[in-house]
């Protein structure tokens, strides 16, 4: 049987239960003096002494049980080596008998057990530390709602403790890092946007006007896109509604529309219009209803829109558009490129166009009969009609229908009006190149042109939302003042109109331009230079007056909004501080923050916006945000963590970022240090999306893929399939699987042998799996075993990470399985190792297995390599980027057979993974437990944690290896919920502990 498959030493924790049954007093009074010391001296002392510290280990320096317990990590290795028979070495002068080995092992374990019990639950030393890069980024995301990731340019965090970077030992602070943190804080502050509602954060920096405008404009464009009316969609839905099944009989059109995510308002109006009596209207509605009633009915039940009906709907859509085009008012060009056009007239034209989009053009009355005749006979207007349409002039004014001598005209008008209301020439206008920009040469301004959408499509709430978005755009860009100044520049420089001396007092750059008296005077001069003599009502209607009114209104509105919004900025900054500090601010802190804000805001060159940004920077560089520091309370034993500290500890454990509002409120109310509540919160938190962050940080660091984005060194000249999208996908796969197992409460051992995983389009292609979603979608796929994959052993990221740049590496892959997954301690290789060839084609004719066998020839190498080399062969069916292969790069058929302890052979990943998940389950879980506990506590484990580890394993056995109960066990443990006091003394603690557990 190969040595690597020896069952691991009997795990300390798993014999715990048995040992615990023995009364401590039944064992000799001092197992160290009686058993350990003599045996060690006799069998180990020749090499491991003060002079000759073989393997940097002096075993003779220990003088008591307590000393052994203090250095229990080292003694665990002693157990491992003695138990395996690796020590003393074969070459040793004398070998202990089997009984002596058992005696030594039993004595060491007894020492561990009794010493551990005495100090069980010690919270240990949890050093203060800064946030890790990942924690910083996630915290920023939680605080701002946008994923800025300011630490991307930071140096990679080192790891310590149980191999994680969330420990004080690992995370040091330096002046250069502080400078980076300062820059990061500024970067975050640059994302702050001062809106009418308060401080928001944009996904990109919005410190410049152009970026702010883009952000607000984008929100409106997105809204339009989300609410656009697609006639075929609505007509098809109306058709389905008409022929709906009896079960839907009572559904109103509005209710039906909701199920289709259509506008209930528009759909109801449309359906009402369509389903009216065709004979009640002789004109446009009559024609529409007739066409509607002629649509082919469904051929079966339930009604399905078949090709015939679909075609008919497409034809109807086309005809509706044609009619709409002919009877709605013609659009004037929204963008005028000729600089000679006066902005005021241009605005006036646009205003009229915008107001009439869904009205009937009275000029169309004259052609209506002809159009209707054409529609009723051929169904589609002839080209001659199109031409006639082009000649049609938009009538400047609407004739009063009542004044029409012909009563038919009134009927036509009424019919047309009803038609145009639902089929306007456009629902909203967005220019292809300029977006919402008003389109007068050079002058920055926005023009809102969406009345049909607001009138006929949007609900009240949606209208409010759209109004708000427009308000936001106007407010954030301060557009009215900009437009006014641009107007003055343009009218003077480009149109020359303001070059007259009368206009000399009105200057683009004059701060007083926006004052009411200046504007009034400006308007007066402008009217007079334009020879406008109008007064009273006529003046009120005049475009020049309208323009100035609009400016006045815009300026006043902005002022009002500013007055309203400004106090909210400070409030938002205060709320930001509370979330950032993970606690309420003290009265002094709050007063101090307010004073700072007001001081900066009051400076002429800074102002409110600068005050917001500076305050955010100030909060983000504070140690209360950037560090975990929990000052120790007075006393000499342990105390429960404060509610707020517990909330922080919990959220950094499960989310790698600060507590959310719910946790903070619970903590502030003193409701968190409570078993039931902690359980509830753990469950809630693990269902949150941030569990992905936990999976990435914990499993990523434990399993060694967290640094793949930075460390990947694949030779892309050889592995041409490997590109950045694939790199991103393989990196994400294990995190997705782990989060899925947690959130669906599946056994965590499925990590080893799951027949399913998550892939996106790129990864599916890489794995040769069918994929039906959008390329960027992630889908759960099953049936991996058939593909030779399954579990993490078949995941490309591990296969690639544990390869050489140009070839696979069974050595690295095997080491990864044995060391990372099964937790075996393997010392570092000596300095003079022989390197394997760089390429699979350079093996001098030997097979990979033969090459590996060379390791075993050298005793110095074989001691360790026999434990993992062969394991790596199980994964030889995948190349260095995790692509399945039948032959290696030298053309040899792959050899992926591993011999198992029971004599069976495991061929490839699924069979070997199944062995790991069953026969090696305990080793895997013990490793997981140590890692998870170390990660949760943010420190190295100590002997006093052993009873908790034993409890964790017991929970696993009861709870089917699910992670949730395990995490609950940790969160409820004393080491997680308590902290050491300022003058902590082990003796005091031991005493207290013994009193508590007699």
């Amino acid at each position: 049987m190969p040595a690597f498959l020896c069952q691991r030493r009997t795990e300390l924790a798993s014999v715990w239960a048995i040992l615990s049954l023995l009364s401590v007093s039944a064992v000799a009074a001092d197992p160290f003096q009686d058993h350990v010391a003599p045996l060690v001296k006799k069998f180990c002392g020749d090499c491991h002494n003060a002079q000759q510290t073989e393997a940097e280990l002096n075993l003779l320096k220990y003088t008591s049980s307590a000393a052994v317990a203090d250095d229990f990590r080292q003694w665990e290795h002693v157990i491992t080596f003695v138990e395996r028979g690796e020590m003393p070495p074969k070459s040793a002068r004398q070998q202990p008998s089997a009984e002596q080995r058992a005696e030594l092992l039993s004595a060491i374990r007894t020492i561990f057990q009794s010493e551990a019990q005495k100090v069980a639950g010690d919270p240990g030393v949890v050093l203060p530390r800064r946030l890790s890069n990942a924690e910083y980024d996630y915290s920023i995301r939680a605080l701002t709602g946008v994923d800025i990731r300011p630490t991307q340019s930071f140096p990679v965090d080192p790891a310590a403790g149980e191999g994680f970077n969330n420990t004080g030992e690992a995370l040091a602070m330096s002046p250069s890092l502080f400078a980076k943190l300062y820059a990061a804080a500024q970067q975050v502050a640059d994302h702050a946007l001062l809106t009418t509602r308060g401080v928001e954060f944009a996904p990109y920096a919005v410190a410049t006007y152009a970026d702010r405008a883009k952000y607000c404009e984008q929100a409106i464009l997105q809204f339009y896109e989300d609410h656009k009316i697609d006639y075929p969609l609505y007509l098809a839905a109306a058709w389905e509604y008409r022929h709906r099944e009896s079960s839907l009989e009572s559904a109103t059109p509005a209710q039906f529309a909701k199920t289709r995510r259509l506008s209930p308002k528009y759909f109801a109006a449309l359906y009402q219009l369509l389903s009216g009596d065709p004979s009640a209207d002789k004109y446009f509605l009559g024609w529409l209803r007739k066409r509607w009633s002629e649509l082919p009915p469904p051929s079966g039940s339930p009604p399905k829109l078949d090709g015939k009906a679909q075609e008919a709907i497409a034809r109807l859509t086309r005809d509706i558009a044609t009619v709409s085009k002919q009877i709605c008012p013609r659009e004037t060009p929204a963008i005028v490129s000729n600089a000679g056009n006066g902005p005021i007239l241009h605005l006036d034209r646009r205003r009229k166009t915008a107001a009439q989009r869904d009205t009937f053009d009275p000029a169309a009355v004259l052609q209506a009969e002809k159009l209707l005749l054409a529609l009723q006979t051929t169904g589609i207007p002839t080209p001659a009609d199109e031409k006639a349409d082009k000649n049609k002039q938009p009538s400047p004014e609407k004739p009063d229908p009542a004044a029409q001598p012909n009563p038919t005209a009134a009927d036509i008008t009424a019919s047309g009006a009803a038609f145009c209301k639902l089929f306007p020439n456009r629902f909203y206008f967005v220019d292809d190149t300029r977006g919402l920009s008003a389109g007068f040469h050079l002058i920055e301004g926005f023009f809102r042109d969406d009345q049909p959408l607001c009138r006929s499509v949007l609900s009240e709430a949606e209208n409010r939302e759209l109004n708000r978005l427009w308000d936001e755009l106007d407010y954030v860009t301060d557009i009215t003042e900009r437009m006014l100044r641009g107007f003055v520049f343009f009218e003077r420089s480009e149109r020359n109109f303001l070059k007259h001396a009368d206009f000399n007092p009105f200057k683009e750059e004059d701060p007083k331009l926006v004052l009411p008296e200046t504007l009034a005077e400006f308007e007066r001069v402008y009217l007079s230079r334009s020879n406008v003599k109008a007064e009273g009502e006529e003046l009120q209607q005049h475009p020049i007056h309208t323009f100035f009114e609009q400016i006045r209104h815009g300026l006043a509105q902005r002022q009002a909004r500013l007055r309203q919004a400004e106090p909210t900025y400070l409030k938002d900054v205060e709320a930001f501080a509370r979330r950032a500090y993970r606690r309420p601010l003290t009265t002094e802190e709050l007063a101090d923050l307010r004073a700072f804000f007001h001081r900066v805001a009051a400076q002429e060159e800074q102002g409110v916006e600068a005050a917001v940004r500076a305050s955010l920077v100030r909060i983000l560089v504070s140690p209360y945000f950037g560090c975990h520091i929990t000052p120790a309370p007075a006393g000499d034993t342990v105390r429960p963590l404060s509610e707020l500290d517990l909330a922080t500890r919990l959220s950094f454990f499960l989310w790698s970022s600060g507590p959310d509002e719910e946790l903070l409120q619970l903590a502030e109310a003193g409701k968190l240090q409570n078993e039931a509540m902690l359980r509830t919160q753990v469950r809630r938190m693990l269902q949150a999306p941030q569990t992905t962050d936990f999976a990435r940080e914990f499993f990523g660091q434990w399993l060694g893929y967290r640094d793949f984005p930075q460390q990947e060194a694949i030779d892309r000249a050889i592995f041409r399939d490997f590109d950045d999208p694939l790199k991103a996908a393989v990196y994400e796969e294990p995190t997705r699987l782990a989060a899925h197992l947690i959130q669906n409460d599946l056994p965590i051992t499925r990590l080893l042998d799951a027949d399913f995983t998550f892939v996106n389009g790129r990864l599916a292609k890489h794995y040769g799996l069918p994929f039906t979603g959008q390329p960027d979608d992630w889908r759960l796929v099953t049936g991996l075993h058939e593909q030779g994959r399954g579990g993490i052993l078949g995941m490309a990221v591990f296969l690639a990470k544990n390869s050489q740049p140009q070839r696979t590496s069974p050595v690295k892959r095997g080491f990864w399985v044995v060391h990372k997954l099964l937790g075996e301690h393997i010392p570092a290789p000596p300095a003079d190792v022989v390197a394997l060839p760089a390429k699979e084609t350079d093996t001098g004719g030997k097979t990979i297995r033969e090459l590996l066998a060379l390791h075993v020839e050298d005793e110095k190498c074989s001691r360790c390599h026999v434990r993992f080399d062969a394991v790596g062969l199980a994964m030889e069916g995948f190349d260095a980027i995790g692509k399945r292969r039948l032959k290696d790069l030298a053309g040899r058929p792959v050899d992926n057979v591993v011999r198992l302890p029971n004599g069976d052979e495991a061929r490839g990943v699924p069979a070997f993974a199944s062995y790991l998940a069953s026969a090696r389950r305990d080793d895997f879980l013990h490793t997981l437990n140590r890692k998870l506990l170390g990660y949760a506590l943010g420190r190295s484990l100590q002997l006093s944690d052993e009873p908790l580890l034993a409890e964790m394993h017991a929970v696993q056995n009861r709870q089917n290896d699910r992670l949730l109960p395990l995490i609950e066990t940790i969160v409820l443990s004393p080491q997680f919920r308590n902290q050491r006091c300022r003058d902590f003394s082990v003796a005091q603690f031991r005493q207290q502990n013994q009193k508590a557990t007699p």
């Binding site: 203060p128 930071f154 890092l177 006007y209 600089a339 190149t433 050079l442 060159e605 140690p623 120790a632």
Partner: protein, 425 residues
């Protein structure tokens, strides 16, 4: 338990710093480490809407170099000049906006709503020098940026910005001379930073009092990091190089925007001169007037605005306007020429470029370019050049940039539309 500390050199850490770092991180190079070769600086002064061709010429070299009337103000410094005619920016085209946002990057700009260009050469230099200078670059302007759209559908954002930090965002222009000064000497952000850092220190000290033992060591680590940063800020604020703080503070311009363009331009030039003299920054751009400029020049006895006159750019009014811009440029040249540095002057170690996006009214078939300064002896001066007939591949503005970037230690295989250095420079 092993404590693993990555071996990261301070230099590597600094190299990873983002451009947004406004902390004046490195204090001025101490006298003890005084460099044997002075650093090289680059500035670009921009005039919008082109020059006046009849008066814009130069011929001959060395003592025989003659300057046209528009360049008259440069007469005293002609030994330090390179007057370069005939270069062009292939992706510019005529008209407005589309030829200014790329004057220092040479890429084609995107029309319409999406703003897209490329990082400008001055900002590449800023990035290169950010470790070595207190302020990576100064981006100044004497005219408000505008937005809106030109009738060609190009955003006017392009017309207002020559310095671009990346493809999407221009570098915000500093319009206030006083704030530009504060940026330089740590006043504006410095005062704010000082106050923020004080606050952080106070918090860290409070924390230190609350913790004990090993915890204190960790808090101290934080404390000393902040303290060291604060010291640097203070030092920076206090005394740039050998000048006393008072002397520099005395040079701080008044707050607010100067009403008179003459004062305005001079104030900005003074700041660039001071920045270069003290080696606070090595890169500066100054937009004297934007493309499609609305500047007015009542002091020249003309009433209309800049752009209006540019349509008749051979007329006396526009000649005056061009003359005014060249005077500002000459002012900066003379200031640097009067600043002793090593065996020469600051001008000898700098390259000051004057450029406009047009040549003839709204046509950018060629561009006016003047360089002043020897860039540390790497650039011969006192010359005139005309590349107009050299062939389009041999007269690219970006080729000139490649040549200049080389001399400043930033060697790029290509830049903008050019892959070749400009021959003859």
């Amino acid at each position: 338990m092993t404590r693993t500390q990555p071996k990261i050199s301070r230099r590597a850490v600094l190299a990873g710093m983002g451009a947004s770092l406004a902390l004046p991180w490195l204090e001025s190079v101490p006298a003890a480490e005084a460099k044997s070769t002075p650093s090289k600086r680059f500035a670009c002064l921009f005039q919008g809407d082109g020059i006046s061709p009849p008066g814009w010429w130069a011929k001959g070299n060395g003592d025989a170099l003659e300057l046209g009337p528009c360049l008259a103000a440069l007469e005293p410094h002609k030994a330090q000049l390179n007057v370069i005619n005939g270069l062009y920016n292939r992706n510019a085209g005529g008209g407005h906006a589309r030829c200014t946002g790329n004057i220092l990057s040479g890429v084609a700009l995107q029309r319409g709503r999406i703003i897209r260009g490329a990082a400008s050469m001055d900002q590449l230099l800023a990035k290169k020098f950010e470790e070595e200078s207190a302020v990576p670059s100064l981006v100044l302007g004497c005219e408000h940026p505008v937005s809106g759209y030109h009738e060609s559908q190009y955003s006017m954002v392009y017309a207002s910005h020559i310095s671009w930090q990346n493809s999407q965002s221009p570098v915000p222009i500093e319009l206030y001379p006083s704030l530009a000064f504060d940026t330089l000497f740590g006043g504006k952000s410095g005062k704010l930073q000082g106050s923020i850092l004080d606050h952080v220190l106070e918090q860290a000290r409070d924390l230190r009092r609350q913790v004990s033992g090993a915890d204190q060591v960790k808090v101290d680590e934080y404390l000393s990091s902040v303290r060291e940063t604060e010291q640097r800020v203070k030092k920076l604020q206090a005394s740039p190089q050998d000048d006393s703080a008072e002397k520099n503070q005395a040079q701080r311009p008044q707050g607010g925007l100067p009403g008179d363009l003459r004062e305005y331009a001079r104030a900005m030039c003074d700041i660039i001169a001071l920045a270069f003299q003290t080696d606070r920054t090595r890169v500066a751009t100054l937009l004297l007037s934007r493309d499609l400029s609305g500047q007015t020049y009542p002091f020249l006895g003309i009433r209309d605005d800049h752009h209006s006159y540019s349509h008749s750019n051979t007329g006396p009014e526009y000649q005056k306007i061009v003359g005014f811009h060249v005077e500002q440029y000459a002012y900066l040249v003379s200031k640097l020429a009067a600043m002793q540095e090593g065996d020469g002057t600051v001008l000898d170690n700098s390259c000051l470029m004057f450029v406009s996006e047009h040549w003839d009214a709204h046509n950018s078939n060629q561009l006016p370019v003047v360089l002043a300064g020897g860039l540390g002896g790497t650039l011969s001066t006192g010359r005139s050049h005309d590349y107009l007939k050299a062939g389009d591949d041999k007269r690219k503005l970006c080729s000139l940039y490649l040549s200049l970037l080389d001399r400043m230690g930033l060697e790029l295989p290509e830049f903008g539309d050019a892959k070749q250095r400009l021959s003859g420079i």
